[in-house]
């Protein structure tokens, strides 16, 4: 049985939710990058958050190591923390920007959007 371990606590409240993809809206203007990025000025990047506790769901595609670590944590929380909820699949976005020579450049940046989360 998974015990209530310390790692669920965050800002005084227990985050019960399981590892999943959550919204993360990125605004390049707020980052101060809107003076060189022409488009897009914002996009949805998502992020991964939640518990990787026992039993792990198969859609979280845990590695064998994460399975072992989760078992160890559920037996003795002091022996090891639970495995981590991280992006397991990412996708690119296109960015149109101005380079240092004032030229307009199109570039495809890999790993900019979280498509899937999992326990690792």
């Amino acid at each position: 049985t998974a015990l209530n371990n310390r790692h669920g606590k965050r800002h005084g409240k227990k985050s019960k939710s399981r590892c999943s993809r959550k919204a993360l809206h990125v605004n390049f203007k707020e980052l101060g990058w809107d003076d060189w990025i022409i488009a897009p000025l914002d996009y949805e990047a998502y992020h991964c958050e939640g518990m990787c506790d026992f039993p792990l769901r198969s859609h979280l595609e845990p590695t064998n190591h994460a399975i072992i670590q989760t078992l160890m944590n559920s037996m003795d929380p002091n022996s090891t923390p639970p495995s981590c909820c991280v992006p397991t699949k990412l996708s690119p976005i296109s960015i149109l920007y101005i380079d240092s020579g004032n030229n307009v450049v199109y570039k495809q940046y890999e790993d900019m959007v979280v498509e899937q989360c999992g326990c690792r």
Binding site: K29, L31, G32, W33, D34, D35, W36, I38, A39, P40, L41, D42, S91, P92, I93, S94, L96, Y97, I98, D99, S100, G101, N102, N103, V104, V105, Y106, K107, Q108, Y109, E110, D111
Partner: protein, 272 residues
């Protein structure tokens, strides 16, 4: 939803490519569409306002970002030559203002900002031909426009010739300059790419006045200027921070006055 302007594989050959002025070039409404998802455009930084993105680059961006949403990769498209980085250099040249016919038109581009970490895979020069009302029309109606490296006495290596049928209609002429680009890369020209445009009619080698064919530069809007488009593929995953660092360096260089430094400090703090 508007379909992405994906170039079909059976599209016109690259170096014969006379495009209608609307192919890949959109009306101002298109600009609003592209930025519809990005409010606050009007508040764009002055520095950025001085650079008006060419319609062709906006069309590239819109096509490939729409394709991404469909799960397709930009480098799959033949038109992108499997590139994931496409850099545009806008023509800043001026024709000597004189009444004599314009036999040759020089295009000089500073390509020194191209990253040497990327594998270049293609280059083309796109020139909008805007024939005047009294456009020339030869009986054969076949003109040859050629690009030669500057200083070549004749159309030597890596000249590109494109037939100009119905020279009366405005069109984007797309000239493949990849061979010329490669030969420039092999012999260091310090980041400068210099080409000369010339036109002949039919089989004769006599050069025709380029103004009468619509290559006059005077009075062109920013988005009607010729652009050199260079296609590259970065070998490793592109790191956003490269560009950010480049831009901090260049904005530090380009802003000197106290007021700007304040802006720079603010911008830097914001970026951090």
């Amino acid at each position: 939803a508007r379909s992405a302007a994906l170039v079909p594989s059976s599209g016109p050959k690259r170096n014969r490519g006379t495009r209608s002025p609307h192919d890949g070039q959109r009306s101002p409404k298109f600009l609003r569409d592209v930025f519809a998802s990005s409010p606050g455009l009007s508040a764009r930084d002055d520095f950025k306002n001085s650079v008006v993105p060419h319609d062709y680059m906006l069309s590239i961006y819109r096509t490939y970002s729409a394709a991404e949403k469909l799960g397709l990769n930009a480098s799959f498209f033949r038109s992108s030559k499997s590139a994931n980085t496409i850099t545009s250099f806008v023509d800043r040249g001026k024709d000597e203002f004189s009444h004599s016919p314009l036999r040759r038109q020089k295009y000089v581009f500073d390509v020194s900002t191209l990253s040497d970490k990327e594998e270049l895979v293609g280059a083309e020069l796109r020139i909008l031909r805007k024939p005047p009302e009294d456009a020339l029309s030869s009986p054969s109606d076949l003109y040859n426009i050629e690009l030669v490296s500057c200083g070549s006495a004749r159309s030597l290596d890596s000249s590109t010739s494109v037939g100009l049928r119905n020279a009366r209609n405005p069109a984007w002429e797309v000239l493949d300059v990849w061979d010329m680009f490669k030969s420039r890369l092999s012999t260091d020209h310090g980041g400068q790419l210099c080409m000369e445009l010339r036109a002949t009619v039919g089989q004769s080698d006599a050069e025709v006045d380029l103004r009468s064919l619509g290559f006059e530069r005077r009075g062109r809007a920013q988005r009607e200027k010729a652009i050199l488009v260079v296609y590259a593929r970065s070998r490793k995953r592109e790191n956003l921070f490269n560009e950010m660092r480049e831009n901090i360096k260049s904005s530090r260089g380009s802003r000197g006055s106290e007021q700007d430094t304040g802006l720079l400090f603010k911008a830097r703090r914001r970026r951090r």
